[in-house]
Amino acid sequence: MSTSKPTRLVSLFNDGFDIRATLLRGRAWFALIIIIIVFSVLSPNYLSLNNILQMSAHVAVFAILSMGMLMVILNGGIDLSVGSTLGFAGIIAGSLMQGVDIPALGIKLFPAVWVVVLIAVACGAGIGFINGVLISRFRVAPFVATLGMLYVVRGAALLITGGLTFPKLQGSADLGNTGFNWLGFNRVFGVPVGVVIMLVIAILLSVLLNRTVFGRWIYASGGNNRAAELSGIPVKKVQIRVYVISGMCAAIAGVIIASELTSASPVAGETFELTAIAAVVIGGASLAGGIGAIRGTLLGAFVIGFLSDGLVIIGVSEYWQMIFKGGVIVLAVMLNAIHYRGRKRGPDSPPPTASFAAVSSAPAEPRAEKNVA
C-alpha cells in the first residue's frame, strides 16, 4: 500500500519520542538495573541471593525512614529530625531493656519486648507531633522546626545515656524479655524480618495514600494548600499527622537498627535524614509537594542502598563513595526538574500546549500519584 510507508515513518518517530519519555519516567528502574549489572560484572558475589538479602536488610532501614519522609514531602514539608528520632527510639528501647527502676516500690521492671517496641514507636510519634504542631499551629517553617528538633532529640538521646551505648539487648529468659534481637536477626521464610516490616509498611502506606480520604488529603494539600483548604480539607490536621507518621517510621527504623546490633547508640542515624530525602527525590517525588508514591520511594532507597553496598563490596574508598552518592542525588533532582517542567505553573499561565494537543496526549500522561520511577 502506498500509504503504509509514511504512516510507519510517523509512528517510528513517535516511538523515538516515547523511548525518551519512557527512559525519563522509568529513570529509577533503569538506574537500579544499571547498578546491579555493573556491580555484578565487577564482583561475582554481588548478585548472590545471600548478598541481595543482606543488602535488602540494609535498605529496609532507609526505606522505612524514606517512606515516612515521603508522607511529609508529599504534603509539601520536610522532616530533618528523622535521623535523631531514629537514634532516640533506639535509646528508649535500649534503656527499657535495661529495666526501669521504680524506687517507690523498690523494684526494677523489665517490660516485655512488644511493650518496649510500642513505647519506642510512641516516642517517635510524639516527636512527630511536636514537629507538626510547631509547623501548623505556630507557623514555624518546616525546615527550621525539624532542624531544631534534630538537635533537641539528639541531645536528649545523649543525655539519657550520658553519651554511652546500651549494649547486650538480647534480654534474658529469667526476666521474660528475650526476643529483642528477633527483629534484626531472624528471617521469615529466608527473608530478614526488617525487609518484611518494610514491605508491610509499604503496603499499609500505599493503601493509605491511594485508597483513603486521608491519603487524598495529603496529595491535595501538598499540591495546593489553599485550594485544599477551600475544599473543606482540615489542612492543619493533615500536616500534623504526616509528621506523626514520619516520626513513627523513624522510630521503627531505630528499633530495627538497635535490634540488628543488639545495642543502642545515641549517635545512631546521624545524617540519615539526608539519605531519606535523597531516596524520596530519586523516587520521583517533587519537593514542592503533591507528586510522588511509595513505589518510587522504595526504588529510590534500593538505588542508594545497592549503590553504596556495591561500592563497599568492590572496595572503593569511603571518600569516593560519598562523591558517587552525591552525584546520583544531584542527577536525580536534575531529571525530576526536567520531568516536571511545565507541570507546575504560576497562576493564570495556561499550559504551553494548545488544549487540543494536550487533551489528545493526556492518556499517555500517568496519573499524578502513580507517576513514579
Binding site: 487524598r216 495546593n224 489553599r226 483548604e229 473543606g232 495556561p350 487533551v359 500522561e365
Partner: protein, 507 residues
Amino acid sequence: MVMQGEVLLSARSVVKRYGGVHALKGVNFEVHRGAVTTLFGENGAGKSTLMKILSGVEVPTSGQLILDGQPVEFTSTVDAREKGISIIHQELSLAPNLSVRDNIFMGREITTNRGTVDYAAEEKAVRALMEGLEENISPKTLVSELRLGQQQIVEIARALSVNSRILIMDEPTSALSANEVEVLFRVIHDLTASGVSIVYISHHLEEALQITDFAVVLRDGEIVAQDEAANIDLVWIVSNMVGRNFDLGTPPTGYEFGETVLQVKQVSVADPANPDRYLVNNLTLDIRAGEIVCVYGLMGAGRTELLEAVAGRGSIASGEVLLNGMDVAKLSIAQRIERGLGLVPEDRQRDGLVQTMTVGHNLSLASLQSLVKGVLMSSTSESRLVDNQIAKVHVKTNGGGAAIGSLSGGNQQKVVIGKMLATNPTVILLDEPSRGIDVGAKAEVFGLLSSLASQGVAVLYSTSEVGECLSIAHRIVVMNKGRILASFGPNVTKEQIMSASGEAVLA
C-alpha cells in the same frame, strides 16, 4: 481620522491566546508622541493583555510591534525599559521589606567609583521625584509602612525615574485620594509637554476623560472605536464599551423563591494589613432559595473578602452569617460545606484547583467523605461521581484521568464549579465565575447557574463586568469600599449600575 503627532510605537494585528482563551483578536494600536492615549474597556476586554505586550511582559502569539518605524521584539521588561517603555502595573510590584529608595532603584542602582551603591545620590533623586509628586515620603521609609495610595505613588515615582519615552499606566489612581490624582494629572501634563507619551487605563471614566487626548475602546479583544478627545464624551465611551453583549441568558422564571437560606447580618471584615480599616463594612444581605443575586463591584470593592468570610476563610470582625437560620460564623469550611454552603473562588489557579491532581480527583475533592465504604474509598463510587459531574457541568475532557492542565480555562472553571456542586449545596457563592474564560464558556457557566437556581439553589455571584450583571440575576447589588451602595432588579440599565458604583455619573 486625523491625528497630530508622529506615531512612536504601534502594534499591528496583534493576537494573543492563552490556551483556549482568545484575549486579543488582531489589534492595531498606536501611541503618539507627547499625547495621552487612553484605553477604555470592561474587565476582560484585553486592555491589560495589550499593555503587557507593549511593555515586554508578554510576547504576542502573532502580530508585530513597531518602534520608531522599525519592527521590534521585546525579550523582557528590562529590554522594553531600555528601549524607553516602562509600565506602572495595576497590581503593585514593590518589595515591602525594602525602603522607598531601594524600591525605586531596584535593579538599576546608582554605584560609586568603588562599586558600592551611592545611597546619597539615590536619596537625592528620590527626594526630587517626591517633590515633583508633591508627596512627603522619606526615601528611607519602608514600603510596608506606607498606606496603599502612597505605595502607588512610589510605583509611579519608580516609573518616572527611568525617563521613559513611553509610560504605560494601568489603573494608577485606584488607591489615590482626589488630591493625589490632581497632582498626578499635573505630572502627566508636564510629561506630555516634554514629549513623553502616556498610555492610560482607568475604570474611572470621567477622571480619565480629563486627561485624554485620544481614546481607544477595546471590547472582547478587539478595538471597537477610537477618536480624538474633542469628538467624544462619556456617553460615547460607555456605549462603545458595553456594546451589545453576548447573550448570557435571562433570570430563570416560572417558580417561587423559597425560604431565606442565607442571611449576612451587619458583617464587617478587617483588613489583615491594617486592622483599623474594614474591607467589608457592616454589610447586610439576604438570599432566598432559588434566587440569583449578583454583587457588582470593581477591584478592591470588598467582593472577594465578603464571599470568603461567608464561606469560612478568615474570620469576621463582627456580625452574623446565618445559614438556614443557624449561625455558622464559628464553623470550619468543611462544616459549612457539609451544611450546604460552598464557595467557588475567584482565582482558580491559586484557590480552586490542585494542579498536580487529575480532573477526576479535583472534582471529588470536596466530597471525599461520601465515597467512603468502611475505611477505604470506593473507586467505583468515585468514578461514578466524577462521570456524573463531568456530564452535569459539561467539562470537555477525555475522562477523569486527564491532567487538569490539559483543559482550557473555561473547562477548568467548570471543574471548580463541579467540585462544589458535588457537595449538593443549598447556597453556592461564586467569586467572578467568568474570570479569564471565553465568552462561550461564560454563557455555559451562566446557563448552569440558572438551572441550579430553578432547582432551588440560592446562587450568589460577583462580577466586575457590568454586562454580566444583566444576565441571569434576579437582583443586582452594587458594592464599593465594603458597603452596598445600591440594589436593583433585573431591569436596571448598565449606565445605572456604573453610576451607582461611582464609575461614571451620567446626566
